[in-house]
Amino acid sequence: MKFTEEHEWLRPEGDIVTVGITTHAAEQLGDIVFVELPEAGRSVSKGDEVVVIESVKAASDILAPLDGEIVEVNPALTDNPALVNEDAMGGAWFFKMRPANMADVDGYMDEAAYQAMIG
């Protein structure tokens, strides 16, 4: 598993990468009340705003970590946004994408580096 400075986690499996946010990020955001997901099939560029997360307090954007295509989104989050607070690293994944270049994943931090970043 890899981690971005934006507190996303990336789990590569075959030619697909599953993306979510870290438990640390979910704690910082507070109680999530709404998640807006992209459409499956959408082509995205690294840095595009692809997911909107709203907590009681504020809205935050999740950025596409890689160039590629969104192939699947997590329908459980639409019905139960609080899942992000309960299971950020597992059941509350946001989307799966097919990266244009799988090797780009390697540029991100490993867990030790991420833990060091958040202190």
Binding site: D31, V33, F34
Partner: protein, 381 residues
Amino acid sequence: MAEPITTALKRTPLHGLHLRLGAKMVPFAGWEMPVQYGLGVMKEHLHTRAAAGLFDVSHMGQVILRPRSGRVEDAAAALERLVPVDLLGLKEGRQRYAMFTDAAGGILDDLMVANRGDHLFVVVNAARAEHDIAHMRAHLSDACEIEVIADRALLALQGPAAEVVLGGIAHGAATMRFMDVGIFHVGGAELWVSRSGYTGEDGYEISVPADKAVGLAGVLLARPEVEAIGLGARDSLRLEAGLCLYGADIDTTTTPVEADLAWAIQKARRAGGAREGGFPGAPRILRDLADGPARRRVGLLPEGRAPMRGETLLFAAEEGGEPVGRVTSGGFGPSVDRPIAMGYVAAALAAPGTRLWGEVRGKRLPAAVAELPFRPNTYKR
């Protein structure tokens, strides 16, 4: 005099307690304040409605207007020059909501005014305290001493269990009615208590000497009904209660009538009243009362689950057209379990049930105009 170069955040007497309770502290109106504790905004909000929440609101400005004549009615008459509210009709031991208006009828701040027998006690917003104190000094000094109370904290105890909790330590607090004020002696501290708040719940605001504040907060928090509640839940609670936040829902660009605060302008200050007008912006505000305002603050219920935050533009149709209004406060209401908002819309579109569209991230999402509050207030009238 040069401007001060430091902008250190001010701390309330409860600062150390907040840290011990694990609060997340944020800058707010020049103060370092707890935005949430361990429970988080959602649970803090729900706990306040289910039992009781304790809020540190010591950042708010506490001011005594002491009449030079010794007659409280002289202070009331003086303050009436600045607010469209009947203060001569405010009885001893009672409190009233008011707003400072400007010459154009806009709102400079909203405030609470209590008649405490030989003086008025005023509570103003933290972000406007400096302005309001200068404003009162400039306009009321002929009639009143303006005493800024810097050695007291202000706590709010809100929720259905507030009465039994405070009543247990302050004999007589339980029999106060909404907007009553009184003085209670508890544990060697003189408490200035009002039965009021900013949550839509029954409850109290308690002014306590700074050196007794941590002790009082500890006594209250020791009760199983009471949890510490941060500014995050304070905001979602007041939004559900349909209460205005100065700087968001009301400011110098909104008049009291537009803001749906005409209820706070008593008959004595209206056209034909005993003391008609006589406050800044009276021509505009009396005209708004007579003719109806061109726009009005309303509640909004977004139809989907996406919150509509402040500044969201409102439209009368799903496509095209110019904006017909704007959201001024919006978010998620934990007790109503849905997104809620308040905003200003053209008067013709202000009827409950009117369907509007808010533009959220480039998409127009439907929202219905709704009655305020979003859930019934539970004041002990």
